[in-house]
């Protein structure tokens, strides 16, 4: 992230959850419907407070569960409203059918998902498995690294979801515990600047609305070619979202003096021989370790995935092509594959990387800490791979016993 001299700012020390709640207030939504769940609860508490003291002029529906939350915001969105909701883990699972329906209806819902391990093994702890479990739902996925980016990505998400050429729901993800409860310095934008940033949407053609009493249906229905047409249009819109987020980021910089360079962020990549690929809060730690390794002469860089759906394949190839070795760090598992999900997906582009070798690191599952030492180990292994040494394809960094379990 590049920060220029600020003309206007309100510096606050707030959590990632508070940043998300304030961003939700700043976009002036018509309807918010949500249900609390750890580690997302503070978002709903803050929005309730804003609503109660008159700072937020929206309909706040305190639903009895997450399934109703998603159905409520989908309906309000189809009726033309700007909507917001937030969830995590079990809540995301409980609204899964409505998550799919929202995407199918191309309702421009914006939802924050605070990443946490999923139902299956009970764990109130961080991990991106909930995100991975919904990656094929047809939503756009954005991932934040720090509290400032949480704030800024929620604002950018509305420009993307509601854009007339996109009209796809957007989920903004950030790591539970590590960012949800992290208090740090955040530059809170002024309302007038957010209004200006979003005003572009008002100049676009009006999207089709569901009107009470009107004869227009809602949702997407179709069989055979009708179905194929809707799906193909949805996929095409997601492809367009790649260039769109790059453009939105440029316009964001003009107003707020902060830039994240769109789909991916490259850190010290120009002369890098070896690269780590990561996402979310781990990237702050990775950048710190990269600086230390650079002082020791190791030419290492980072590619941070900010947009995960659609997968930024072309941008990744552009950044990674010709690098000697790439280590992909996943905070989740890909059942049925040995490597992590992002590693497995990047593998699809391997033939375009001009011989770059790739390995997979799995770490940060269920609150296991992605420490500086762990990152150092990942960089060392990736350097070994670049030097032609024999390196395991998949390493569970915080679980060395994995090597004895067999299979992987």
């Amino acid at each position: 992230m590049n920060t220029k001299v600020k003309e206007k700012s309100q510096i606050k020390v707030i959590t990632g959850n508070a940043a998300a709640a304030i961003a939700a207030k700043l976009v002036r939504p018509d309807v918010v419907a949500a249900y609390p769940i750890t580690p997302q609860t503070e978002i709903i508490e803050q929005i309730s407070k804003f609503h109660a003291n008159g700072e937020m002029d929206c309909e706040l529906i305190t639903v009895e569960g997450e399934n109703s939350a998603m159905n409520a915001v989908m309906a309000a969105s189809l009726a033309g409203g700007r909507v917001f909701t937030a969830t995590s883990s079990w809540g995301l699972a409980f609204m899964y059918d409505a998550v799919l329906a929202t995407a199918g209806a191309r309702a421009p819902v914006v939802m924050v998902n605070v990443n946490r391990e999923t139902p299956g093994i009970i764990a109130v702890s961080s991990g991106q498995q909930d995100m991975i479990s919904t990656r094929d739902a047809g939503w756009i996925f954005l991932i934040a690294e720090n509290c400032q980016e949480v704030m800024d990505l929620v604002l950018q998400a509305y420009r993307l979801a509601e854009d007339y050429d996109i009209q796809v729901p957007v989920m903004v993800h950030y790591d539970g515990f590590y960012l949800s409860y992290l208090s740090e310095v955040v530059d809170v934008p002024f309302q007038e600047d957010v209004d200006r940033f979003l005003s572009v949407l008002k100049d676009q053609p009006e999207r089709i609305k569901l009107v009470p009493g009107g004869k227009l249906g809602c949702g997407s229905h179709g069989i055979l070619k009708g179905y194929l047409e809707l799906r193909h249009k949805h996929l095409s819109a997601m492809e367009r979202a790649k260039a769109k987020i790059d453009q939105i980021d440029k316009e964001f910089q003009e107003i707020f003096n902060r830039s994240y360079s769109g789909q991916i962020e490259e850190y010290r990549m120009d002369d890098a021989d070896v690269v780590l690929v990561g996402s979310g809060s781990m990237c702050g730690t990775i950048k710190t370790v990269i600086d230390e390794k650079r002082q020791a002469g190791v030419k290492v860089g980072l590619v941070k995935i900010r947009m995960y759906r659609p997968f930024p394949g072309e941008a990744m190839v552009g950044a990674l092509k010709g690098k000697k070795a790439i280590g992909v760090v996943d905070r989740s598992l890909c059942f049925g594959f040995k490597g992590g999900p992002m590693y497995t997906e990047l593998k699809a582009f391997e033939t375009q990387l001009d011989g770059s070798k790739m390995i997979s690191f799995i770490d940060g599952i269920a609150n296991t800490d992605i420490t500086k030492a762990n990152v150092g180990q990942m960089i060392d292994s990736t350097c070994d791979l670049a030097a032609g040494k024999d390196v395991r394809e998949v390493t569970w960094v915080s679980y060395p016993e994995a090597q004895e379990d067999g299979g992987l």
């Binding site: 606050k12 020390v13 109130v124 720090n146 515990f177 992290l182 208090s183 310095v185 702050g284 710190t288």
Partner: protein
């Protein structure tokens, strides 16, 4: 950068202590980042929080394994091995305790500060929640902060009578903490 680890129990305001200090550092143009680590939120359960305070932006998003400073809000943990784990040589410790005995030993601990924060909090706010007293005591012990930004930071967490009472708590913490070189 100073790395600080906070130890206490749910209900003592451990997390708020770390937040207020991050806030106070930001008010001096520096950077602060703090976060707690716990499972289910409940009173009485052990809580650990981590604080990083620096003149440069804090990018690391990991727990703290080698703290420069320990802040112990729960007197029962004063000699806990877990508390001292990884303490850097020349380390400091701020302890909330009515027992001022210097029977705390750790090879890396060079500076100890003790304050009966529960007593002061009881007198000023009527509750044995030691956090804002600890904030003031931290500023004095560490020398990293003046008391003014600490008091200013309290405005983001309290208002009205609670604010003025907690400002008194912070100031008394700053003035009444006892410092010992070991």
């Amino acid at each position: 950068m100073s790395e600080v680890r906070f130890h206490g129990r749910g209900g003592q305001g451990v997390v708020t202590t770390s937040k207020i200090l991050a806030n106070a550092f930001a008010r001096t143009g520096q950077f602060g980042a703090s976060f707690p680590m716990f499972g289910f939120e409940r009173r009485g359960a052990p809580v650990t929080a981590f604080g990083r305070f620096s003149d440069k932006p804090v990018r690391e998003k990991t727990q703290i394994y080698n703290p420069d400073i320990l802040v112990v809000l729960d007197p029962s943990q004063r000699n806990s091995e877990a508390v001292f784990q990884g303490l850097r040589p020349g380390g400091m410790m701020l302890l909330n305790d009515s027992d001022k005995a210097l029977n705390i030993s750790n090879g890396n601990l060079k500076k100890l500060a003790i304050i009966d924060a529960n007593k002061i909090a009881q007198e000023e706010i009527g509750l044995a929640i030691p956090n804002t007293v600890i904030v003031g005591a931290f500023a004095r012990m560490s020398g990293l902060l003046d008391i003014e930004p600490c008091c200013d930071a309290l405005q983001d967490y309290f208002s009205g009578k609670k604010l003025s009472a907690n400002i008194v708590c912070a100031k008394r913490g700053f003035e009444e903490v006892e410092l010992f070189d070991l």
